[in-house]
C-alpha cells in the first residue's frame, strides 16, 4: 500500500493507530473450517500468479464465532433449505417442452459435481462469459421453452445455490484461456480499481487495502466470491453475487449497473479469479 505522507505528524498518528488496531482486530481468525466434522474446506491458500496479495482468504475467517459455527454445521446452516428447494426445482417439469432439468441431465448430484467451481465460463454462442444464472436461463429458454428467471427470483437463487453446492469443497478455478476471457478479466480488473460514487471508493480500497479492519461494525474481508450465493443473517435470506456487487457499489453512493450487465459479468470473472484455489463454500453464512 503506497502512501505519501507529507508530515511526520500523520506518520506518528498512523503508528499509534497500527498498535491499537492490532489489539482490536487481528485480521482473519486462525482456524479451520471443517463441515460436519468431515469435509475440509480450503479457506486460505497461496494467491495465483499476478495477484496483488500473497494469500487469498475466505470471508469465513472474518466472521464471528457464532456465524462461523453455523456454516460448519449443515443442519444449522439456514442456506441448506435453499439447497433442498433447488433440488425440488431440478426435478420439476416446467415450460412448454414438458421437461425438467433432470429430464436431460439426470441426477443433479452426479451431473453437477465440479461444474459450479469452474464458472463463469466462456460461452461461444453468446460470445461472452456465462455465470450459472445465465446458463440456467439459457437451458430454460432453449431447452425447456420456459421463461428466464427475473433477477433474484427465489427459485433462481435456490437453483443456483443447489448447483453450486454440488461442488462444495472443490477449489475454484476458472478457465481464462477460452474465447475472450482475458479481455473480460482485464475489464473486470479495471472496474475493481475504479473509484465510484460520492464517497470515491473502489473495491480495492476496502477489500485489498483494509481487509482485516473493522469499518463501523463490519469486519472487512477480501471480498471473495467462493461462498455465493451466501446466506446473510442480516437479511435472513440468500443473497446472490450480483446483488452483493450492487450493494457494495451502492454503498459508495454511486449508481449501480444492471445484474448480468457486461460490466458486472466482467467483474464476476475478475473477482472469481482473485479467489482461485479457495473451496466452494455454497451456501456460505455471512453476517
Amino acid at each position: 500500500m503506497a502512501k505519501i505522507y507529507k508530515t511526520g505528524v500523520l506518520l506518528a498518528g498512523l503508528l499509534t493507530a497500527g498498535m491499537s488496531s492490532a489489539a482490536l482486530a487481528g485480521g482473519p481468525v486462525d482456524e479451520k473450517l471443517v463441515i460436519d466434522d468431515e469435509l475440509e474446506i480450503i479457506t486460505r491458500t497461496a494467491a495465483p500468479e499476478g495477484h496483488p496479495l500473497d494469500e487469498v482468504i475466505s470471508g469465513w475467517h472474518y466472521r464471528t464465532e457464532e456465524t462461523r459455527a453455523l456454516e460448519a454445521d449443515s443442519f444449522q446452516n439456514p442456506g441448506m433449505l435453499y439447497v433442498e428447494r433447488g433440488e425440488e426445482i431440478w426435478n420439476t417439469v416446467e415450460g412448454d417442452a414438458g421437461k425438467s432439468c433432470a429430464s436431460c441431465h439426470g441426477d443433479g448430484e452426479e451431473f453437477l459435481k465440479g461444474i459450479g467451481a469452474n464458472y463463469p465460463k466462456w460461452n461461444a454462442d453468446a460470445n461472452k462469459p456465462f455465470n450459472l444464472e445465465l446458463q440456467v436461463d439459457q437451458c430454460r429458454e432453449e431447452n425447456m421453452q420456459a421463461k428466464p428467471y427475473k433477477f433474484d427470483a427465489a427459485d433462481q437463487k435456490a437453483l443456483v445455490t443447489y448447483i453450486k453446492h454440488q461442488s462444495i469443497g472443490m477449489p475454484v478455478e476458472i478457465d481464462l484461456s477460452q474465447g475472450e476471457m482475458q479481455e473480460w478479466w482485464k475489464k473486470g480488473e479495471e472496474t475493481y480499481y475504479t473509484r465510484t460514487g460520492q464517497l470515491n471508493l473502489a473495491c480495492a480500497t476496502c477489500h485489498e487495502d483494509y481487509n482485516g479492519n473493522y469499518i463501523r461494525a463490519d469486519h472487512l474481508s477480501q471480498g471473495n466470491v467462493n461462498g455465493f450465493p451466501t446466506y446473510r443473517l442480516k437479511q435472513s435470506a440468500m443473497v446472490s453475487l450480483h446483488n452483493r456487487f450492487r450493494g457494495c457499489i451502492r454503498d459508495t453512493r454511486a449508481e449501480f449497473p444492471a445484474a448480468f450487465s457486461d460490466e458486472l459479468m466482467a467483474l464476476e470473472v475478475y473477482v472469481t479469479w482473485r479467489g482461485t484455489g479457495l473451496s466452494v463454500e455454497t451456501p456460505a453464512v455471512r453476517q
Partner: protein, 153 residues
C-alpha cells in the same frame, strides 16, 4: 406553469440562496495551500456541540465508520480503518483539520480511503440523488472542525 413564470421563480430562489450564503465558499473555490485552508468556509465560526453530532451521524460525517474516538465511547462500533482521533486537536491546527475534512486527498494523497467531505473531486457514476452535492455542507465542515479542535489529550 408558463415558461416565463418558471424563470421568475428560478431567479427568485437563486436570489434567496445567494443572500443566505453570501459568504459561503463553493467547493470548487476552496483553495488548499500547504495542507491548510486558512479561513472559515462560511465566514462564521463552527459550533463544536453541533459538530460532535455531525461527526457521529451516519448520514453525515459517519466519521466513526473509520475512526475510534474516546469522546464518543457511548456510541457503538467505532471503526479502525483510520487512526484514532483522540488528541487530534493537539496534532493538527484548525486550518489543517479544515483541509483534511474538505478534501483529505489533498493532504494524504490520492490513494486515501477517507472521503472528501466538501469537494467535487469524487468517483464516477455518482448516484442521482447525490450528484453535484457535497457530503457535508460548508457549515457542517466548520462545526466538525470546531469539534475536532476540542479533542486534546
Amino acid at each position: 406553469m408558463t415558461k416565463g413564470l418558471k424563470i421568475i421563480f428560478a431567479a427568485a430562489s437563486f436570489a434567496l440562496a445567494g443572500s443566505a450564503f453570501a459568504e459561503t465558499l463553493a467547493p470548487d473555490d476552496v483553495e488548499i495551500v500547504d495542507m491548510e485552508v486558512t479561513a472559515s468556509l462560511t465566514g462564521k465560526p463552527g459550533d463544536a456541540t453541533i459538530g460532535r453530532e455531525t461527526f457521529a451521524d451516519r448520514k453525515k460525517g459517519n466519521c466513526l465508520a473509520c475512526h475510534v474516538n474516546a469522546d464518543l465511547s457511548d456510541q457503538l462500533f467505532h471503526g479502525e480503518v483510520g487512526p484514532p482521533l483522540d488528541g487530534v486537536g493537539d496534532r493538527w491546527t484548525a486550518q489543517e483539520l479544515r483541509a483534511i475534512v474538505i478534501d483529505s486527498k489533498e493532504v494524504f494523497g490520492e490513494q486515501t480511503i477517507m472521503p472528501g467531505f466538501y469537494t467535487m473531486n469524487v468517483g464516477i457514476n455518482v448516484a442521482e440523488k447525490h450528484k453535484g452535492q457535497t457530503i457535508l455542507s460548508a457549515q457542517d465542515v466548520e462545526d466538525v472542525v470546531a469539534y475536532l479542535t476540542t479533542l486534546s489529550e
